[in-house]
């Protein structure tokens, strides 16, 4: 059999292939040749064949049949064989396959080999892909090598030990004695890997951490020597002596100094020295400064040092190099909570970063900007953020819009400003606004009583321009439904009132119903809005017509609504004004992850007869109660609740917990309605205090037959659930 072709020859040949198919053919041919060569147990060319296999593996072709061959190469006496064998093992074997365990004995032997380069190969392979079983078996050998005076082996053993500890944390103790004088080494390779080993141990075990705290002075000394020493050609990078070691030492100091006053104090000076003396013209200097800043911020440093750190970050923000700016923004984001005022000083630079071309920088600048917004800078910041919202990528718009809403809610200087800001967001990024913002905004608008006329006018005008953005359309239709009368009567004080007729308004709302751009949810909103206008407008016939048409809509939701509204016209017309009355101020509960559903119910005019009420609940009629299913655990709360509605002749009743089981808590609070003391307002809070979601929560209310005076209870349910994630 002719000698198998050389590796380079194969590479050259494969690269001449002009198509994928041609390449595949060549590869298959060669694989077949290699396979037969393996079968013949050919020792001479095994190395060459495996090397070729590794090349083909990199191109993406299967090479698993070479795994055992790698093991044979490792077991060979020849260095060339071992080199390729170990490389093959690292590329082709992984710890999921039992085959890899066969390596263990070979590695053990090679760890004790007379040639340090063979020992090095073994250490490297173990440290790169050793499984937990292998690590357990060979930890002793590694520990032995960690104590050797041969720095070439010692540095490798240290990193190998890191890997062993990552795989089998219980073995950490075993390496403790060997760490005794690791830091007294002169060799930078050993120093560097020792610091990595110490870092790993301290991160994993608080005991180790306290044990190694005593090394702080030594680490400080080493760092000082690196900075103060003259030019050392061997370790110099752009005028800085061994930046890799400096960075690792700073990182270890960070871990040792965190939460410990004494250690933090001991490293104060050196940190200040590094922060002020490091050359910043090249990336390498900035890498050290970056690590220094992270350390200063994490340990118990004095305030002067912290300010120095933040100023370094501020300077980073002005750096030409994008990478430096990115890193600065990331770090500032971490420190903005603790050192808020210091970061505020760099606000204008941060805001400038919103205009950067790089996506990652923009995102960080946006997050940081939101963190910096406060009562003093809200107007200026909002201008920048709104401008950013206009021009940013679609990926950002949802987050930006939510952030703006939150900030506006917290710091709005005036209701008018608040409404204007919301309008701006809805009109520029209306389709990216999160769905749960819609109820939020509705509640906000409802509560800004004096702005109703202005709000509805602006929303109406926005609708005339564009009906494609669903959240905008939904909020607008809701508002028009509520405040349409203000719109038509031209009562706006804040700006020039527009002249619009009832028909024009109804045209717009009907337009939403038929438009292809409207989602089913939006259609629901507009139908309800039209219905509400029946008590505010005089063009009843038109509205009745629309409602009856949609009684046969294909959309089930719309159909149901239309049918119910129809019923309202036909049989319960006397109740219509009451049911469609203006919404009262809503109470909003902000919650932190558990679902809190605030249900407001208010009772209305004592005009209806009790009889009518009975009709409402009895029979086959569909009762127009707006019912929404909200996620809660199935709870049989029905029976126990009813009793409470019995006694309405109350003066003052203290709040009571009606139900408290399985994490579902339902509380009732009672109060007299302010304008009319004959009206009792009962509010129900349902809270999910478990961590799981509750599903199929259905609210149903039944009213008792017995009432002491002709009053009625009308239930209008509003389900609002806000899910604020984190």
């Amino acid at each position: 059999m002719p000698a198998p072709i050389r590796l380079r020859e194969l590479i050259r040949t494969i690269r001449t292939a002009r198509t994928q198919a041609e390449e595949r053919e060549m590869i298959q041919k060669e694989c077949a040749a290699i396979r037969s060569s393996f079968r013949e147990e050919d020792n001479t060319y095994r190395c060459r064949n495996v090397a070729k296999l590794l090349y083909m593996h990199m191109l993406g072709y299967p090479a698993h049949f070479g795994q055992l061959e790698c093991l044979k190469l490792i077991a060979s006496q020849k260095f060339t064989d071992k080199r390729i064998g170990y490389l093959g093992a690292m590329l082709l074997l992984d710890e999921r396959q039992d085959v890899h365990l066969l390596m263990t004995n070979c590695i053990k032997n090679d760890l004790n080999h007379s040639t340090q380069y063979v020992q090095g190969l073994a250490l490297c392979t173990l440290g790169c892909m050793g499984s937990s079983e292998m690590c357990r078996d060979l930890a002793g050998e590694v520990e032995k090598l960690l104590k050797t005076s041969n720095s070439y082996l010692r540095k490798k053993a240290a990193l190998c030990a890191v890997h062993v500890i990552r795989k089998v944390p219980e073995l950490m103790e075993m390496f403790l004695p060997a760490t005794k004088n690791l830091l007294s080494e002169k060799n930078h390779g050993v120093l560097h890997t020792s610091v990595v080993l110490l870092t790993e141990m301290c991160e994993r075990s608080p005991d180790m951490l306290s044990h190694f705290r005593k090394l702080v002075p030594q680490l400080v000394r080493i760092l000082k020597n690196l900075i103060m020493s003259g030019y050392s050609p061997e370790h110099d990078v752009s005028g800085i002596s061994d930046p890799f070691l400096q960075v690792r030492i700073l990182r270890l100091l960070r871990i040792l100094g965190k939460g410990d006053d004494d250690s933090s104090e001991a490293m104060n000076d050196i940190l200040a020295q590094v922060a002020t003396n490091t050359e910043t013209s090249k990336n390498v200097g900035n890498a050290i400064l970056y690590e220094t800043v992270l350390t200063i911020m994490d340990i118990k440093s004095e305030s002067g040092l912290r300010v120095l750190a933040i100023n370094i970050l501020g300077r980073f923000l002005l750096n030409n190099d994008k990478n430096i700016r990115y890193v600065a923004l990331t770090s500032l984001l971490k420190t903005v909570q603790t050192d808020h005022n210091a970061v505020q000083r760099h606000r204008s630079t941060i805001v400038d970063c919103l205009k950067d071309l790089d996506v990652s920088i923009k995102r960080r600048a946006m997050e940081l900007s939101f963190a910096l917004v406060n009562g003093n800078n809200i107007r200026g910041m909002m201008k920048e953020l709104l401008y950013f919202l206009d021009s940013c990528d679609p990926d950002f718009k949802a987050d930006c819009a939510s952030g703006i809403f939150l900030a506006a809610e917290k710091y709005a200087p005036s209701k008018r400003w608040h409404i204007d800001t919301i309008m701006r967001v809805l009109t520029t990024a209306g389709s990216y606004v999160r769905d749960d913002s819609v109820p939020n905004l509705i509640q906000l608008i409802t509560n800004s009583v004096e702005m109703h006329a202005y709000t509805v006018q602006r929303l109406y005008k926005a609708l005339l321009d564009d009906i494609s953005q669903q959240p905008l359309v939904q909020v607008a239709s809701w508002c028009i439904g509520e405040y349409g009368d203000l719109l038509v009567s031209g009562q706006c004080e804040e700006e020039e009132p527009i002249q619009v007729s009832e028909d024009e308004v109804l045209d717009v709302l009907e337009g939403l119903l038929v438009s292809n751009l409207s989602t089913p949810v939006t259609r629901g909103y507009s139908l309800t809005a039209i219905m509400k206008l029946s008590t505010r407008f005089s063009s009843l016939n038109r509205i009745k017509k629309v409602v009856s048409i949609y009684g046969s809509s294909i959309d089930v939701e719309l159909q149901q609504r239309a049918v119910e509204y129809n019923a309202l016209f036909k049989k319960y017309d006397h109740m219509r004004p009451a049911l469609l009355e203006r919404m009262p101020i809503m109470e909003k509960t902000i919650f932190s992850g558990d679902g809190i559903f605030t249900v407001c119910l208010w009772s209305v005019f004592p005009v209806l007869q009790a009889n009518d009420l009975l009709d409402l609940l009895g029979g086959n009629d569909v009762v127009p109660i707006i019912q929404t299913t909200v996620p809660t655990k199935p709870a049989s709360a029905g029976g126990e609740l009813l009793d409470l509605l019995g006694d309405l002749s109350l003066t003052v009743i203290p709040p009571m917990t009606a139900y408290n089981k399985n994490g579902l808590i339902i509380e009732f609070t009672f109060e007299r309605s302010n304008p009319n003391p004959n009206i009792a307002v009962i509010t129900i809070h349902a809270t999910n205090s478990t961590e799981a979601d509750m599903t199929e929560f259905v609210f149903q209310a039944a009213v008792p037959k017995v009432c002491s005076f002709p009053s009625c209870i009308l239930i209008n349910l509003l389900f609002m659930s806000w899910c604020i994630g984190t």
């Binding site: 590796l7 380079r8 590479i11 690269r15 001449t16 090397a51 590794l54 090349y55 990199m58 191109l59 020849k78 260095f79 060339t80 080199r83 390729i84 490389l87 992984d94 999921r96 380069y117 090095g120 250490l123 440290g127 790169c128 070439y152 540095k155 490798k156 990193l159 890997h163 930078h188 390779g189 560097h192 890997t193 061997e234 370790h235 990078v237 061994d242 930046p243 960075v247 013209s281 990336n283 900035n286 890498a287 050290i288 970056y290 690590e291 992270l294 002005l318 750096n319 030409n320 190099d321 994008k322 990478n323 990115y326 890193v327 400038d352 950067d356 071309l357 790089d358 990652s360 920088i361």
Partner: protein, 178 residues
């Protein structure tokens, strides 16, 4: 470091070093996705990006992308220096290294990497020492392979012959101009 990938502008893999245990299938998937993501980046963008729960640091040298995945606590800027050091080592070893050198001598590229990094961390911070070790190890080889260079004529793509140099202009400490 969790892994390092070297790939060409056409997305061809030239070297892959994994420091975390993953199946072949997972490695292929990650490689494919990451290569796509990095190649889609515009030249003016910064060298860092978030990808899944990792930080990716990449840098282009002539026709080759060097891409590392590091963990949250790792320093991105020093990782750029690590990448640069590796390129310098390759450069010194091959004498003005280009992509073609790495294609034809991939196993040597691995050997050099394994003398510089171990388990994802730098084991030797002195350039001289790494190169010395490689030299000594090469001498031990029973079969010496000459460093192969492909004759220029047969390659249509001159990209591959370009020596690996840092693709980004050196920055001086002046005001940024967005």
């Amino acid at each position: 470091m969790q892994f390092m990938l070297l790939f060409s502008r056409q997305g061809k893999l030239r070297l892959q070093k994994w420091y975390v245990p993953l199946s072949d299938k997972e490695k292929k998937k990650i490689t494919r996705e990451l290569v796509q993501t990095v190649l889609a980046r515009k030249p003016k963008m910064c060298s860092f990006l978030e990808w899944r729960d990792l930080k990716i640091v990449y840098k282009r040298y002539a026709s080759l992308y060097f891409c590392c995945a590091i963990e949250d606590q790792d320093n991105e800027l020093i990782t750029l220096e690590i990448i640069h050091r590796y390129v310098e080592l390759l450069d010194k070893y091959f004498g003005s290294v280009c992509e073609l050198d790495i294609i034809f001598n991939f196993e040597k590229a691995y050997f050099i990497l394994d003398e510089f990094l171990l388990g994802g961390e730098a084991q030797e911070t002195s350039k001289k020492n790494v190169l010395k070790a490689i030299e000594q190890a090469d001498l031990l080889q029973e079969v010496r392979h000459m460093k192969q260079r492909l004759p220029a004529a047969s390659s249509r793509r001159s990209d591959l012959h370009k020596p690996l140099r840092d693709d980004r202009p050196k920055h001086t400490h002046t005001q940024p101009d967005h």
